[in-house]
């Protein structure tokens, strides 16, 4: 076990965990931030996507001892009141079905739009291809990303 000082959603927090613990489980089990979801544990589904210094990473393979002083943002910290343009677009298009993968989809889309504010269809598909939605909401996700890009 070791103590790590982390910056999560603009707050300084301290956890005492095994250094090999993925951020996914640090967030969920130790910091009670359960919006970040477990889907596969091997970076294949994207449900656990968070931001490290604004870049989308898979928290299931991001180990706590590799984070250092980078800023961690989770779905709970993406906006103050759930009013990030991507979250609002998701609501407008009523994207979710079961909803389980959507935090990861939103985090991936938000980081993507920062790097590419006005993407084309193929760019959206490529950027989002690592995020699985088992309910098949891909067409709405694409529409919501376009709405967010235009807002």
């Amino acid at each position: 076990m070791a103590v790590f000082n982390l910056k999560v959603n603009k707050k300084n927090v301290q956890v005492d965990v095994d250094p090999s613990t993925p951020m996914l489980w640090v967030l969920r089990d130790h910091l009670d931030l359960v919006g970040t979801k477990y889907g596969c544990g091997i970076a294949q589904c994207g449900a656990c996507t968070i931001h490290l210094d604004g870049f989308a990473v898979r928290s299931c393979i991001t180990f706590v001892d590799s984070v250092g002083d980078k800023e961690i943002t989770t779905i709970e910290g993406l906006s103050e009141n759930g009013d990030h343009p991507v979250q609002e677009a998701w609501m407008e298009h009523d994207v979710p079905q079961c909803g389980y993968c959507q935090a990861g989809q939103i985090m991936n889309a938000a980081a993507f739009l920062k790097s590419n504010p006005h993407p084309g269809d193929e760019e959206i598909e490529t950027a989002m291809n690592g995020n699985i939605c088992r309910c098949g909401t891909y067409t709405r996700i694409k529409a919501a990303i376009k709405t967010a890009a235009n807002s």
Binding site: M1, V17, D18, S20, T21, P22, W25, R28, D29, H30, D32, V34, G35, T36, K37, Y38, G39, C40, G41, I42, Q44, C45, I75, E76, L78, G82, Q87, W90, M91, D94, V95, P96, Q97, C98, G99, Y100, C101, Q102, A103, I106, D121, E122, I124, E125, T126, M128, N129, G130, N131, I132, C133, R134, C135, G136, T137, Y138, T139, R140, I141, K142
Partner: protein, 738 residues
Amino acid sequence: MTIVKTKIDRRSFFKSSVLAGGGMLLGFNWLASACSAEASKTLTMPDEWFEINGFLKIGENGVVTIMSPNPEIGQNVKTSMPMIVAEELDVDWAKVIVEQAHLNTDIFTRQLAGGSQSIRQSWPGLRMAGATARMMLITAAAQKWNVPVEEITTDAGVIHHKNSGKKAGYGEVASAAAKIPVPEEVKLKDVKDFKIIGTSRKNVDGHKIVTGQPLFGLDYKKEGMLVAMIVHPPAFGMKLKSFDATEVKSMPGIKDVFSIKTYNDDYKLQWTDGTSFTELVAIVGNTTWEVMNAKLMLNVEWEAIPTAEKSDLSGLESTSEHNAKMAEMGNKPGTEVRKDGNPEDAFKNAAKVVERIYTAPHQAHNTMEPMNFFADVTDTNAVLFGPIQTPEVMEKTLSARLGLPLENIDIQMSRMGGGFGRRLYGHFMVEAALISQKMKAPVKLIYSREDDMTYGIYRPAYHALYRAALDENNNLTGFHVRMGGIPDSPLHANRFPAGAVDNYLAERWTINSNISVGAFRAPGSNFNAVAEQSFLDEVAEAAGKDPIQFRLDLLKRAKENPVGERNDYDADRYAGVLEMIREKSGWETGSAGKNRGVAAYFCHNSYVANVVDIALDGDTPVIEKVYAAIDCGIVVNPDAAVNMTEGSIVDGIGHAMYSAITFNNGQPQQENFDTYRLIRHAESPKSIEVHFVENEIDPTGLGEPPYPPVMGALANALYKATGKRYYHQPFVNNTFDV
């Protein structure tokens, strides 16, 4: 206007009228509640709630809480079921809070997510619950104002008496209404007067989902809760021999390691219990990561189960063996299920015979949220929380296994990260309960993705032989289907084209297996539709007929002069969706230069037709557009219905194209999403257009019906694009070289 007897479960009214007799303050669980976005911004909580009946309570300020009785697996019933109550109650949707009900058989009936039946079967009860409450409210107002009930009208939660100009909000009379006797009969609205049903309302959990609030079973947490995982046999046909936990027990955070027996040997399994692995090793610890690490280090020995009872196949089965055995069974007569006319003669005298074989593999449900459940079991009580499609049946299983009376078991339902049939089978609830019982502590059981995929209740593997006889004028004179699977036959002998062909033969066969299988979105239909609709496309081609007109001609025959008496479908409604898809897709005028395929299917009481348009990018098929025409009766929440249809289309294309689980010596060969392929963004259709037939028929299913037919339309479009027919799923295993 329809007048109905208030025959629905009167216990729900009885119980609540006792409760509300004193106008008592009822508890309110904000965490379990949800509401529309506008409600979340404007609503203030009332000081008092008055329970009018088991489905709803009204605050003194007019805010209404409506219970959502059924499990929510992403089919959006948590929004659409309360909408139906709100409609008959005649209340402003922006003043409605939705609360997920616990399992409560005193109040609710059929709290089950499955068979696309939630809306269909609850429709009368939900309407009656709303209408009865409204009647009690206006009766209370009539008594207060001393005017006849008949002169009172309501509008969006406000009661009016036109002659006197009096009006009152529901909240003002809620206290009095709670004491009004339940009316013997109530009036239901005419469909034309609906204000909420038939209008799009957003998912009541939408804001919580996009902000990452706790909703799912896996998100649940309780003070002192431990985390548990199970270790199951690596192969079907194997069982636990021994394990050595010495080392693991000393690992950090690990509390205990022990074996559990999910079901006792003398226990008669219920249909929802299904599992092949009844003895497991449980590892319990403080945190998920610690338990996951311990799981990797555990030494377990497994042994093969003697195979005497499973004579069809070896004890440790392989997909190659499955395929060989299915081919053998498909090649000999099966059990006759339906025979019309004289099929033997029809085939003997045919000018042309088309004969084809179709297959589909086992598939894993792969809900994005892996199996999990929370259990807190004491000597006298059990509280369980989590994702389950069949809480009522599982409560009986838990009662038997834990030795607790039903009334001492409280099952609370979380939102589910997908179901697709997998969570009809709740063995994981029993596992969680047994672990909690042993630990004398609250426990959350979590399956890893690998556990989830390799400890499945899979979609069976299927095989179908189809034959069609055409006479010299290209009339379909004989039809023969022989279908089987491991271990179930998907045959629906009385569905189309049964009833439309003079000489018809349907046969079934099965092969025993020790691999656990169960319902998977549109069971049986999810294979039938692909095979049958691909086959009909080939038969139409052999007959030189347009594939839509070919089907319509058969349906005309089935309507005007049906063969046999037991035909499961309504030929008019079936033809209706085909005509609609022909028009909406511009089939007759806009098909030139397009690679398009059509299919239509009836299942779960609804009718769906699809047209799929495909382009080729090199040798990769690109799905440019999918059209859907659906007849599922009244559509409660149109945009949500479109969403579910779009999802079904993506899901159907994905599973037909990419997904399979295979076995080698009993061991699943795919464990995670690196080897099990699910459809992704770039592979999904570029555009989907959904149309609903407008009618006033009571709603039928929608969770499953749009899933099967698109696979047939896909296969037929692929043929147009590549010149090759696709008989064996997943289609991606065929090459797409043009």
